[in-house]
Symmetry: C2
Subunit: 275 residues, 2 copies
Amino acid sequence: MGVPAERLSLNTATVRKRWNLRQCIEGCARHGLGGISPWRDMLAEMGVDDAAKMIADKGLRVSGLCRGGMFPATDEAGLRAALDDNRRAVDEAVAIGADCLVMVVGGLPPGSKDIGLARQQVRDGLAATLDYARTAQMPIAIEPLHPMYAADRACVNTLGQALDICDELGEGIGVALDVYHVWWDPELSRQIQRAGKARIYAFHVCDWLVPTKDLLLDRGMMGDGVIDIASIRQEVEAVGFNGLVEVEIFSSGDWWRRDPDDVLRIIIERAQTAV
Amino acid sequence: MGVPAERLSLNTATVRKRWNLRQCIEGCARHGLGGISPWRDMLAEMGVDDAAKMIADKGLRVSGLCRGGMFPATDEAGLRAALDDNRRAVDEAVAIGADCLVMVVGGLPPGSKDIGLARQQVRDGLAATLDYARTAQMPIAIEPLHPMYAADRACVNTLGQALDICDELGEGIGVALDVYHVWWDPELSRQIQRAGKARIYAFHVCDWLVPTKDLLLDRGMMGDGVIDIASIRQEVEAVGFNGLVEVEIFSSGDWWRRDPDDVLRIIIERAQTAV
């Protein structure tokens, strides 16, 4: 039980209200974390080249770039714009040496109730982006999001559904498994077995709080909720995943308000006791 | 397209902040609804016998009794207490002539992170209750709840999972299908086919709002959200379901504050345009 600091990665959303990317990189290095996973807006603000250099200088691995995706659109121009943006995301992921580009695939376009169409657009967008990503040798990781985000963030909502897409599209595409999104799934163990090492590109942790006061911004620190994180990690590692354990906590009422150095200290403690 | 008032049933939770059960029964009759689905606390307050008589006198059908379930517990005494309560729920459902007893099966017991154990307790509790319900000829309807309720309300979270339990336990047990809980499921159409007329005991409607401001109490009126309710109803009816369409809206910020007669009028309108 327990994950040492050098096997942890900080998703920068966890401290984004108090630190910019430069501070995140410094913080990760200062606390002895093994890696970082930046969001693209923070990367753009710092500059991709400066960020890439600083991350390399500090010896940090990049467990993923957040995020590509958001494919569904109401018209051809919207679909094309999404593909253009995803190619740029691939380039940025390559520039910072990311293990993968994480895909939050998008939900229903404005005004639509056709989740079947949105899912088709996602499949097509992933296929097109994968063609480009293969030429850049950048793995694409579909992140199935909790079903409560099906309307507005991602219409890929189970590991099984993500793996169906992977099986259809072939090599170079896998999944980013976040315990927050999948812990409830009665199919979880079976689908982790199905995914195997070959399809699991990233593993994210935080916790599900009871009660959860906000659909997006009330995620918990590992150990404060009801997810048996250690069991899920053991299952993922049993099939061969040996990448970093990425911590991603959206928490407007709690963790975003705290001193990020305290947050990192607590993450490292909890990685020992609750991961 | 469209469901006439006589095919609608009012789940009393929809107007519970303003009407007691007697007022709900009168309201359903006054607006020409075909049925009602009471909650047990409202039934207890009015008295089961008085309610049964008044419902019959008004010619209303009872599309379901809400609710049995809540099986998981931390000790034997808790498990037994749940079984006792579920037998009483069966008796009450029989007394009011309900089409079925709706089961919200329960989530994790306090302090537990073992969703596998909770699911086993649910299976065992359903099996024991079903034995009793069969002697009373009362159908038991598992309501799979949205995965966002897995921790605190129901650890049966997909139609497929509910049908696996039904297949294991045999006759007299089926599902209550609420579009709010299942609309996101990529397996939905396949599982409706699998369920067929034989397993679909109840069909509930409301809508998923974007944004959803509260996990429990921000459900929408049909037509105000993103669920393609008409398509799901058509799928359910295509396999043979011909029961009432039950309207159940938990809405602390909006519908619970309105005059229930207005709410019923709008339900009847929306049943024509959005169901």
